[in-house]
């Protein structure tokens, strides 16, 4: 007997409700497969590990004085404890005003107890006034407990919890149409304890961390 015919005539498929359920399951499966293809089979690869990338914002209108966010994206975080991190960035102080740093999405350990592990998004410290005088902003995060509030792998997740911090800028009145401003990483460290000796820290100076600059385009 034809197996397809026997399946079609089976008691299971004779039931209308079962047939609808089967079609729905098929649709769901197809949707999942399509989404996986779209998400995983992108035309370009995701940033390879480990690298720190300043994400360029959309072109900014010359008369726009809204805050411009430059997100600092980390591509990967090896499984260690990182209680300190710092970032130095050059920018054109005559064209851009640095407003400060905002929370990203990457998490450190929080005030955890034995019963419950909690996570926290830290605020990086910076001196905007000094940065605007020198054209170089220095910002850092320091867990003074030496590990209790450190960055750990569990607080990192690609595409969801991978923004270390967000740098906030604003165009100055001297900005002109067509200008392109480089926001250049001059130094970056995500440090482990004693990481300089063991080379476990991620640092641009040690070439254990790559850094990519951003551009702000004025239109």
């Amino acid at each position: 007997m034809d197996p397809i015919k026997s399946l079609r005539e089976s008691a299971f498929l004779q039931n209308k409700r079962n047939r609808i359920l089967l079609i729905a399951a098929g649709l769901l499966f197809a949707a999942i497969i399509i989404m996986m293809i779209l998400l995983m089979g992108g035309a370009t690869e995701k940033l390879f590990a480990p690298s720190l990338t300043l994400l360029s914002p959309a072109p900014v209108a010359v008369d726009n004085r809204d805050e411009i966010n430059v997100d600092v994206l980390l591509s990967d975080l090896p499984d260690r404890v990182y209680p300190a991190a710092s970032l130095s960035v050059r920018f054109d102080k005559n064209k851009l005003e640095f407003l400060g740093a905002r929370q990203g999405t990457m998490m450190t350990l929080g005030d955890s107890t034995q019963e419950e592990v909690t996570y926290n998004i830290p605020i990086w410290k910076s001196d905007a006034a000094f940065a605007n005088q020198t054209g170089e902003l220095n910002t850092m995060y320091l867990d003074v407990t030496g590990g209790k509030f450190a960055y750990v792998r569990e607080g990192f997740q690609k595409d969801e919890k991978d923004i270390l911090l967000r740098l906030r800028f604003r165009l100055r009145d001297s900005a002109q149409v067509g200008e392109i401003y480089d926001i250049t990483v001059t130094d970056a460290v995500i440090a482990t304890i004693g990481g300089a000796e063991t080379r476990t820290s991620l640092a641009t100076a040690m070439r254990t961390l790559k850094a990519y600059s951003a551009k702000i385009v004025v239109q």
Partner: protein, 391 residues
Amino acid sequence: MKHIKRIACLLLSLLLLSFFGCGKETINRTLQIPEDGRVARAVFKGIQESGDIGIFNGNSNDITYQWLFMGSLLEEPRDENLLVTFSSAKTQEVKARLSAEHVQEFSFANGEEILGGPSLSVYFTYPWNADSAEVYQYDAQTDSLTLVATAALENVPNAVVTLIPQTFKGLFYLVGRTTQEQSTTEAAAGSEPGASATALGQSNKATDAYVNETKKPTVAEPATKDKYLTDEVPSGKPKPVEPEDVTVEKEKKHTATLSIRCDTILQNMDQFNQDKLPVLPKDGVIMPTRTVVFYEGESVFDVLQRETRASKIHMEFVFTPMYNSAYIEGIHNLYEFDCGSLSGWMYKVNGWFPNYGCSRYVLKNGDVIEWVYTCDLGRDVGGGYAVGELP
């Protein structure tokens, strides 16, 4: 039964969303170049349609590089290979040949042109002791180097070299140059139309033996002037084109870089008209290097006029029939003679100071236009030869 129908409708909607919704995700304008360098047409199409920008980051031998595509300049998107390889096979040899301290060898993945006129920024981990950068192409058959472009160099504090590549096949070298080196490797030239020029010059002997003669400016003998009093143009340099003979083709868009600087004034403050202090930029930069769009057939003057107008920068010129060109009297309210009797505005394209007016210089894709203020008839900006002096 109703519930089942609803669930089925919901799943069907989900399926449709996965088809149409995901295609309209927000643009990720910063992307990493994949290992094989290939970026699909769809990515460029997305940039083109959104009018946004596309930034592509790569790394080769610890040197990072970045391509910048402008959506408005992408005409016919296609698959591109954006891989750039930094190497050192002939670096020491080229350093010696060109007598240059900073040289970086590089090549493009498959030698094919990359469409859309993107700019390429190369980030070094140390500063360059140089004022500008040049791009040389190596010809293996003749074992010679040809100057193919100039590039913008900034030390912030490490060197960042930005260029708009025009040729893609073979080995290339980024070479750091000081103003002094440039003025000795370049030869006869001129300046703004006001300057009378007997084109004379000498080239760097160390460079001469290797740089392709067809591209390199050579010593020009005193020659007959054309009807607009222009001396003979050095070989390998573009000849002047009369504005009335050119048709601007607006459907053909190209890019160039443009900058306007007056930092020489900062070194000559004793000569500077103190009434003009309020308009003097502290860093001497009136317009930092920017990528500009121009149309086929347009001149240096056309671009300067459009860009200063768009940026609300003052610019005053007078048309001089004797030279058949506009003469730039002032930019940003800084005029000729504001910093002594030998001061005024000069322009250079790809590092060369043309010996004819800016209305007669027809641009080509990738040109690097620099307007500089001289306080010493060009000598202080590496263009002394422009007014007929030996370097």
